[in-house]
Amino acid sequence: MKTNDKTLIKELIASDLKPIGNPNFTLNTIERISEAEASKAANSGVKDLSILYPMAVFALLFISMTLGKALYPWLQPEPGNRLASTMEIISGFLFHPVTISILISISVLYLLDVYLKRQHA
């Protein structure tokens, strides 16, 4: 590449550069950045956890089922048998393939939500 070309084309482009119409462009841009940063800071502490409610219900049922199974040997036959059949129903619900698929889908959606929020932050 000839130096002449470099100098000439640089000068040609420089001489034809149009100025930005808005004289406060830099200031306005900085203001927009400040607003964006302020809203990001205001929203950073607030997390929407509603998507995790089904997970919480699952965890609660799982804990109560574990507790029930642990208590079973210590109870009298009558309430013990009732507890055992209740636990069977709960575990049937918890480990049903549909429940597991719903929980996996919710987890994936939650992670996607967190990732997208981080990208737009």
């Binding site: 002449n4 034809d16 462009f25 830099t26 400040s34």
Partner: protein, 183 residues
């Protein structure tokens, strides 16, 4: 009241805005052909780039990324309302050499010179203008420009030669026309 920790960072960034805003605006203007759209695109690009600014170690990395945002945003904004530019033949045989062009331009008065240069640059399409301005004016490397316009460096070299040829052809034709009118 607490001091805003972003102030020094934003002050540094204002220097970068001042440095890049004019060329970015001209690239966006060349693509969109609309001053307001171009300003909006450049401002958006600066806002988007700010978040990642502290992560850039070299200024050249910032400019590559920033011009890429400007170029892509401008291109996608006109995708719907694309205006066809007049293609200039880059294979004209009677192109003047760069020193002949430079000599003739210095002989013209300021107004005629500006008008002639402006007309010749107007005839370039958006990609040619972007490549030429980033390579010759902003002095970015072919590798950096290839990332901005998403073309392979080898192909970009061909595009750059072609764009330069187009500019010289257009200038030569205008200069010859100007000289003929004088005679």
């Amino acid at each position: 009241m607490t001091a805003n920790p972003n102030i020094p960072k934003q002050a540094d960034y204002a220097i970068l805005i001042e440095k890049h805003k004019v060329l970015a605006f001209n690239i966006a203007l060349k693509i969109t052909k609309n001053q307001q759209d171009a300003e909006e695109i450049v401002q958006d690009a600066f806002v988007k780039a700010f978040g990642a600014y502290s992560g850039f170690k070299k200024e050249s990395q910032f400019s590559t990324w920033f011009y890429r945002i400007v170029f892509n945003t401008a291109i996608s904004s006109i995708r719907q309302k694309r205006i066809k530019t007049v293609e200039i033949d880059s294979t004209l045989t009677e192109t003047l050499a760069s020193n002949q062009i430079a000599n003739t331009l210095t002989k013209l008065d300021n107004y005629d010179r500006k008008r002639l240069i402006s007309k010749s640059l107007e005839n370039l399409n958006e990609l040619d203008y972007t490549i030429l301005s980033l390579y010759y004016y902003q002095e970015l490397s072919l590798k950096e420009i290839s990332k901005i316009v998403d073309k392979k460096p080898n192909y970009l070299k061909v595009l750059l030669q072609r764009a330069r040829g187009k500019l010289y052809n257009s200038l030569s034709a205008s200069i010859k026309k100007e000289l003929n009118e004088l005679i």
